[in-house]
């Protein structure tokens, strides 16, 4: 780790939902990581892994039930309500569904201008101008200003959402599956736009996705999430080329999308079984019910979150010793040539 102050960090973060009197869903459970200024940090997980909840917690849309979210080393919940409203403008989010993220009764200009209206630090004419500039920057012509969301395509709406957070000049943008709902042909456009904006404004991204292709394309470091926990974290190259956790390995081999050829695995490991219920996760290692290397130890004891190689963390009893990515058949999982 460098001596740099992390821009966003979590310390044993937990976000729990009480579903009924005796069931608690730990959507995020004891998660710790640091995001450094200027980097793109990827968070990968299946649906149901808690990655969206984690993303919402990072921008204070969900309050931690345990542990902390830290913004530049400070706990935003220690601020007064008024201070928090001011502070959080620096930590923005682009949601998966751009359609739901725009108020259907507001014109595009009004939506884009909204963050500026809240601050009310500039006169109205100037707010309009800044909003129009932001729209132009994301590739929306001024014609769109007077339109309503239902008149726009998904990709256009996502550009509107991006323009809207840009008006705040935030340091951090959490992109929660920001391209998943879009046509494949549009996805690349939006990703390129985000990359351009990062260069131009020195943005820090936290990129939440289920899509390894996207992560490989854009992230400096990645964390892999399974049933509310992190199972692996490290430099993107290292994690994709030499995964330490069998779950990462399984995800990688299931991924048909073009990774750089040296990262591609020759064999495909297919995940067997369903994702267990996050309400009552398996004992010991949560992945053991679907792991082809599972042993008695995995059911008895929870694996520790440890730095196996410098900067490369994993939570597996056998991290670094398992013959992942190129191994012959072991245990239950199928291997397809």
């Amino acid at each position: 780790m460098t001596a740099q102050q992390p821009l966003v960090a979590t310390r044993d973060l937990g976000v729990h939902f009480r579903l009924s009197r005796n069931t608690v869903l730990k959507a995020v459970d004891r998660v710790s990581f640091d995001v450094l200024p200027g980097e793109t940090f990827g968070i990968i997980g299946e649906s149901g892994s808690g990655k969206t909840t984690l993303g919402r917690a990072l921008v204070c849309l969900e309050a931690p039930s345990a542990g902390q979210v830290l913004h530049q080393g400070r706990d935003p919940y220690a601020l007064s309500r008024r201070q928090l409203r001011q502070h959080r403008r620096n930590y923005q989010v682009v949601f998966q569904d751009p359609n739901a993220a725009l108020d259907p009764r507001m014109t595009i200009l009004r939506s884009v201008r909204e963050p500026l209206d809240v601050a009310a630090t500039m006169p109205r004419a100037q707010r309009d101008e800044v909003a129009m500039q932001a729209m132009e920057r994301v590739g929306l012509s001024p014609d769109f200003a007077a339109r309503y969301p239902h008149e726009l395509s998904g990709g256009q709406k996502q550009r509107v959402c991006i323009a809207r957070v840009l008006t705040l000049r935030p340091s951090v943008i959490v992109c929660d599956e920001a391209v998943a709902a879009l046509d494949v042909s549009i996805q690349a456009d939006i990703l390129n736009l985000l990359a351009d904006l990062q260069r131009e404004f020195g943005l820090t991204y936290i990129f939440i996705t289920h899509n390894l292709g996207v992560v490989g394309h854009i992230s400096d470091r990645v964390a892999v999430m399974y049933l509310g926990r992190l199972v692996e974290m490290g430099e993107t190259e290292a994690v994709l080329a030499r995964p330490l956790h069998p779950y990462t390995d399984a995800l990688l081999s299931a991924e048909p999308v073009a990774l750089p050829s040296h990262m591609r695995t020759s064999q495909r490991v297919i995940l067997s079984g369903e994702l267990p219920s996050p309400v009552s996760p398996p004992s010991g290692c949560r992945f053991r019910t679907r792991c082809r290397f599972a042993q008695d130890l995995c059911a008895a004891k929870e694996p520790e979150w440890s730095e196996v190689e410098p900067g490369h963390w994993a939570a597996c009893h056998f991290a670094g010793t398992l013959p992942v990515t190129s191994s012959p058949v072991h245990g239950v999982a199928e291997v397809v040539a």
């Binding site: 919402r56 921008v59 849309l61 009764r105 909204e114 809240v118 339109r147 726009l152 390129n192």
Partner: protein
Amino acid sequence: MSAALQPVRAVRRPSASRRFLSWLRSDLRAAVSLAYLLVLFSLSVFADVLAPHSPIAQSMDMLAPPDAAHWLGTDDLGRDVFSRLIHGAPMTLYASFLAVGVGTLIGLPVGIMAGYLGGWVDGLTGRIIDALLSFPSIVLAIAVTGALGIGLTNSMIAVGIVFSPGLARLIRVQTIVVKNDLYVDAARTFGMSPLRIVWRHILPNAIQPFIVQVTLLLATALLAEASLSFLGLGVQPPQPSWGQMLARSYGYMEISPEQMYAPGLAILFTALAFNALGESLRAVLDPTRRRSD
């Protein structure tokens, strides 16, 4: 830059007045109702000019049948029934809008607050609403009128109080639906205050069923006013009101039965018009329910 623009092919939203006209064209019943209510409204404003006689001037010509001078005859005090009917219109409209206004003024903020805040506030409000909804409405209105003091304004405030729990419940449900929308979360990340979120996002997106309900309640309020004035708790003599005219005409029904038709029909038509407008609004504002009522 790779972010190439897609060609703009979306159609422009038609202007408000055009949408209004196409709504009226598509629903004849609503158009007729609106026209009727506009006429009624003009009658109310210009009652003094339009009514051929004073509504309270008595004469010796009592219980006269309809003729050229008195189109609907005269009542037991020799007053012109047609003029009283016209002067009853402003009373009716005032009463309906007052009751619905009071109901909205109480129900809307309470319901939005309960729905938005949730938790124990919502729990307590829900219980109070349940309790108030188990009162037979007219009886409660009469009791409240008795407490506030008899008269049109008080009785309609009472009716409005009786309306408020139902309205609060309606907007509460809508608020809960809307407050979980993503654009509300987005507004929170911009640092928008809860009050402003309610005003800017929740109210505009949650209000439609409320508007429909309020329109339908205008008819209910009108009927309540008629009942209360009929019972002598609403409009006080000599001021004319349709309900009170019915009460009077009932007294001499065996002599001139035709006098109870005009005020009754006036009440019926106005209630029908409010209801038709409400139903039509429901169909326009909420296309998913077009078939069901």
